[in-house]
C-alpha cells in the first residue's frame, strides 16, 4: 500500500519556541487518523503543516508523491485543492450565501460552469442535510449548520484527503452530533481523513489509527483499542485519566 501522505522529521518553530519536534508518520488511502492530546501539544500546527498553511521550519511533507515543502505557491495551489480542510471556527465566507460558498472554488479554480457548480453544490448540501439553506447567509446559521456547510465546501473540490482541525470544539454540545454524523458518513464512504479532535468517542469508533501527541511529538501511536484500552505511555495514561474524570 502506498502512502498518500508521508511526514518525515517535520519540525516547526515559532520564534524560539519549538512546537513540532521532528515528527514522522504516514497516512494511506482510505485511512482515518485521529490526532488526540492535550491542548498546546502542537496538534493543530501539525495539521496545518500538512497543506502548508503553516510553513514547516524543517523536514518534509510528501503528498501523492509530491514533496510539498519543495514547491512554489502556484504548484501548491494545485495540490491544496486535493486536500480539503475544515476549521474549528468554520471560516465560511461571510460575504456569500451558503451555495456561493460551496461553488466558489469549483468555479474559480476548476473553471466549472455555473450550472454544473450549482448542481454539484446542491447535491453536496443535500448530503450534509442543508439544501434548504442554500440561499441563506452564514451569519443566519447555527454553528452546527455552518460546520456542515464548511464540510460541503471542502468536498466540492473532490479532495483525496480531508483535514479536520477540531471541527466540533467551537460548537454547543447539542450540535456536536450532527457534525460527527456527517464525518462518520464520509469515513464510511472511504474518504481518507486526518482529524484533530477531543471527541474520544468518535476516535474510538471511527479511527483506524490514533496518534497521541504531547509536547510536539507523537508520544504514542496505535489502533483505538491499543491507545484507549491498553495505553503504554505514561503521558497517554495521564491524559486519558483526566479526560475520563471530566
Amino acid at each position: 500500500m502506498t502512502d498518500m501522505i508521508k511526514i518525515e522529521d517535520l519540525s516547526k518553530k515559532f520564534g524560539d519556541t519549538e512546537v513540532l519536534k521532528g515528527l514522522n508518520g504516514s497516512v494511506s488511502k482510505g485511512q482515518v487518523i485521529c490526532v488526540i492530546g492535550p491542548s498546546g501539544g502542537g496538534k493543530s500546527t501539525f495539521l496545518r503543516c500538512l497543506n502548508l498553511l503553516e510553513k514547516p521550519t524543517s523536514g518534509k511533507v510528501t503528498f501523492e508523491s509530491n514533496e510539498l515543502t519543495a514547491l512554489n505557491e502556484g504548484q501548491l495551489n494545485e495540490l491544496r485543492e486535493k486536500m480539503g480542510m475544515v476549521f474549528q471556527s468554520f471560516n465560511l465566507f461571510a460575504n456569500m450565501t451558503v451555495i456561493e460558498n460551496v461553488k466558489l472554488a469549483p468555479v474559480k479554480v476548476k473553471n466549472m460552469s455555473d450550472d454544473e457548480a450549482n448542481k454539484l453544490a446542491l447535491s453536496l448540501l443535500d448530503q450534509v442535510g442543508l439544501q434548504e439553506k442554500a440561499d441563506a447567509y452564514p451569519a443566519s446559521l447555527s454553528g452546527g449548520q455552518q460546520q456542515r456547510v464548511a464540510i460541503a465546501r471542502a468536498l466540492a473540490m473532490n479532495p483525496d484527503v480531508m483535514l479536520f482541525d477540531e471541527p466540533t470544539s467551537a460548537l454547543d454540545p447539542e450540535m456536536v452530533g450532527e457534525v460527527l454524523k456527517v464525518m462518520q458518513d464520509l469515513a464510511n464512504d472511504g474518504m481518507t481523513m486526518v482529524v484533530v479532535t477531543h471527541e474520544m468517542g468518535f476516535a474510538k469508533n471511527v479511527a483506524d489509527q490514533v496518534w497521541f501527541m504531547d509536547g510536539g511529538v507523537f508520544a504514542e501511536k496505535g489502533t483505538p483499542d491499543e491507545i484507549f484500552e491498553h495505553p503504554k505511555n505514561e503521558r497517554t495514561k495521564d491524559f486519558l485519566a483526566k479526560i475520563l474524570e471530566a
Binding site: N51, L53, E73, G74, N77, E78, R80, E81, M83, G84, M85, F87, S89, N91, L92, F93, A94, N95, L104, A105, K108, V109, Y137, P138, A139, S140, A150, R153, A154, M157, L163
Partner: protein
C-alpha cells in the same frame, strides 16, 4: 526612534530630489518674441475680479473676461499678429504662472515696483491710477485719508501693492489680506475692516455700482512704480517687451485707455442690470458641473490608486512596502493646496498640464493616500481564517483577495470611504486657486459680477449641501445592500 529618523530621512531625501529636478532650468537665450510668434498665441494671465481693469461679464449665460486690460492685451496681440488667450487665476498665482511658462504676460492691474522688477520684466507704464480707500458711505466724514485709519483695520488684496502700502504707511493698523476683492468688500460691509485700499479706477467702479460705498483719497507716499500699471513678463524677455512697448506707446499717444475705460464702464452697467441669482444660474451650473467632474474622476482614481498603495503597504516586499509608506505619509503630511500648486506649477515646468487636469491629478493623488489607509484598515479587519479557508480550497492569493477579502473589507470600510468621498466634494474646491472654474471659483465670479457678497455664498452653500446630501443617500443605499445578516 532610530527607525523614525530613517523614515524622515527617506521622505526628505525624496523631497530634495524632486525639488532639484524641478529647479529652474538655466536661463536660455532670449527667444521670447520668436516663441510667441511661433506658437501663434499670446497667453495673458489675469485675476478678473478687479473692475474696470478686468472682470467677468455674463453674456447669454456664458462668462467672458473683459475690461481695460483685456482691450490692451487684444491690441498687443493684434499688433503682434497672434491670437490672444486669457488664463484666469488668483492674483497670488500670477507671477508663479509667469515663471513657469503658464502665461506669456501678466496684465492684471499690476504695479511695476522695484521688488517685483527683481523677478519680472515690465513693459512701459500704460496707466497711472492713484491709490484710494473704499469705505462704507455711513462712515463718510469719519475717514479722510490714510491717517484716519491709525489703530484700525484695513483690507487689501494679498500680494498687492496696496497691501504693503497699508502695512508700511498706516501706523498701528491691522492690514487684512484677502485674495479676492469681492471678499474684501464683504469684510468692509460687515465692518471686519473699516476701509479697503485699492486703485482709484477700481474703487470708482465699486462706488458707481454699490450705493452703500464711497471712496476717499489715500494720500499715500507713493514710491517708484507704485502709482503705475504695467504689463509683466518673464525675466529676460527683452525682445517681447520691446515689441509690446511699441503698442503701449501707441495706446499712450492715441489716448486709447480712455476709450477702454468707457468700454469697461458699459460692460459694468450691463452686468449690474440684472443681479438676481437666477440670472447667474449658468455660472453656478458650470461650477457644479466642474466640481462634480473633479470629484467623480478623483474618486475613481482615488480608489484605484488607493488599493494599489494599500497593497504596497501591506506587501512583504520591503521596497514596495517602503514606497507605499513613504507615499502615504508624505501626501497625508502636506496640505492639498500645496499639492495642487506643485502639480500645476512644479510639474508643469516640464509637461504642460492644463489647470483642470492638474487639479484632478492632485486631488486624485491626495485622495489615494487617505483611501489607501482606509482600505488597509479594512483588509486588516477581515479575519485571517477567511484567507486560510480560501487558500485551503486552492484559490490563489489574487483570487482570495478579489473574491473573499476585498468584498468583506469594502463592507467594513464603506462608511469611512463614504465620508472621504463626501469631503472630496468639498475639498476639491481648492483647485479654484489655479483657475479651475469649480463652484467656489464661480461663486467668486458671481460676487465680482453682481457686487453682491452674501447671496452667492448662500446659493453655493445650498448647492454644496444638495451634492453632499444626495451622495450620502446613495452611499447609504449601497451600505444597506451589503448587509448579510
Amino acid at each position: 526612534m532610530k527607525k523614525f529618523f530613517v523614515w524622515l530621512g527617506l521622505v526628505l531625501g525624496l523631497v530634495v530630489t524632486l525639488a532639484g529636478i524641478s529647479a529652474q532650468p538655466a536661463q536660455a537665450a532670449d527667444n521670447s518674441l520668436a516663441r510667441v510668434k511661433e506658437k501663434g498665441t499670446l497667453v495673458m494671465g489675469t485675476s478678473p475680479d478687479y473692475p474696470p481693469y478686468e472682470f467677468l461679464v455674463n453674456r447669454n449665460g456664458k462668462e467672458r473676461v473683459v475690461g481695460m486690460d483685456v482691450d490692451i492685451a487684444k491690441k498687443i496681440a493684434k499688433d503682434l499678429g497672434v491670437k490672444l488667450v486669457i488664463k484666469q487665476m488668483s492674483f497670488d498665482s500670477l507671477l508663479v504662472a509667469l515663471e513657469t511658462n503658464k502665461v506669456d504676460m501678466v496684465v492684471s492691474g499690476m504695479s511695476p515696483t522695484p521688488a517685483r522688477e527683481k523677478s519680472v520684466d515690465f513693459s512701459k507704464v500704460y496707466y497711472k491710477g492713484g491709490q484710494s480707500i473704499l469705505i462704507n458711505k455711513t462712515d463718510k466724514g469719519l475717514y479722510h485719508d490714510k491717517n484716519s485709519f491709525i489703530n484700525k483695520a484695513v483690507g487689501a488684496q494679498t500680494g498687492s501693492i496696496q497691501y504693503s502700502l497699508g502695512k508700511k504707511q498706516i501706523k498701528n493698523s491691522t492690514v487684512k489680506g484677502l485674495d479676492k476683492i469681492s471678499d474684501l468688500i464683504l469684510a468692509l460691509k460687515s465692518h471686519k475692516v473699516e476701509g479697503v485700499i485699492m486703485e482709484k479706477p477700481s474703487a470708482q467702479a465699486y462706488v458707481d455700482n454699490d450705493k452703500s460705498l464711497t471712496m476717499i483719497n489715500g494720500n499715500f507716499n507713493l514710491g517708484k512704480g507704485e502709482n503705475d500699471t504695467a504689463i509683466g513678463f518673464r525675466k529676460g524677455s527683452t525682445s517681447l517687451v520691446n515689441e509690446v512697448n511699441k503698442s503701449v506707446d501707441q495706446i499712450d499717444k492715441q489716448g486709447l485707455t480712455k476709450d477702454y475705460l468707457k468700454d469697461a464702464g458699459s460692460y459694468m452697467k450691463t452686468n449690474t442690470h440684472n443681479t438676481t441669482m437666477w440670472h447667474y444660474a449658468g455660472y453656478f451650473a458650470k461650477g457644479v458641473g466642474y466640481t462634480l467632474l473633479i470629484t467623480v474622476i478623483s474618486v475613481f482614481f482615488g480608489i484605484l490608486l488607493g488599493i494599489i498603495f494599500a497593497l504596497m503597504r501591506l506587501s512583504k516586499n520591503k521596497l514596495l512596502h517602503g514606497l507605499g509608506v513613504a507615499y502615504i505619509e508624505f501626501v497625508r503630511g502636506t496640505p492639498l493646496m500645496i499639492q495642487v500648486m506643485f502639480v500645476y506649477f512644479g510639474i508643469g515646468l516640464f509637461i504642460n498640464i492644463p489647470a483642470l487636469t492638474s487639479g484632478i491629478i492632485a486631488v486624485s493623488l491626495n485622495s489615494a493616500a487617505y483611501v489607501a489607509e482606509i482600505i488597509r484598515g479594512g483588509i486588516n479587519s477581515v479575519a485571517k481564517g477567511q484567507t486560510e479557508a480560501a487558500r485551503s480550497l486552492g484559490l490563489s492569493n489574487t483570487q482570495t483577495f478579489r473574491s473573499v477579502v476585498f468584498p468583506q473589507a469594502l463592507k467594513n470600510i464603506w462608511p469611512a470611504l463614504g465620508n472621504e468621498f463626501v469631503s472630496l466634494i468639498k475639498e476639491s474646491s481648492i483647485v479654484s486657486i489655479i483657475g479651475v472654474t469649480d463652484l467656489i471659483y464661480q461663486l467668486k465670479a458671481v460676487q465680482t459680477a453682481t457686487y453682491k457678497g452674501v447671496a452667492p455664498i448662500i446659493v453655493a452653500m445650498i448647492l454644496y449641501f444638495i451634492m453632499t446630501f444626495s451622495l450620502s443617500k446613495v452611499l447609504n443605499h449601497y451600505e444597506r445592500s451589503m448587509r448579510h445578516d
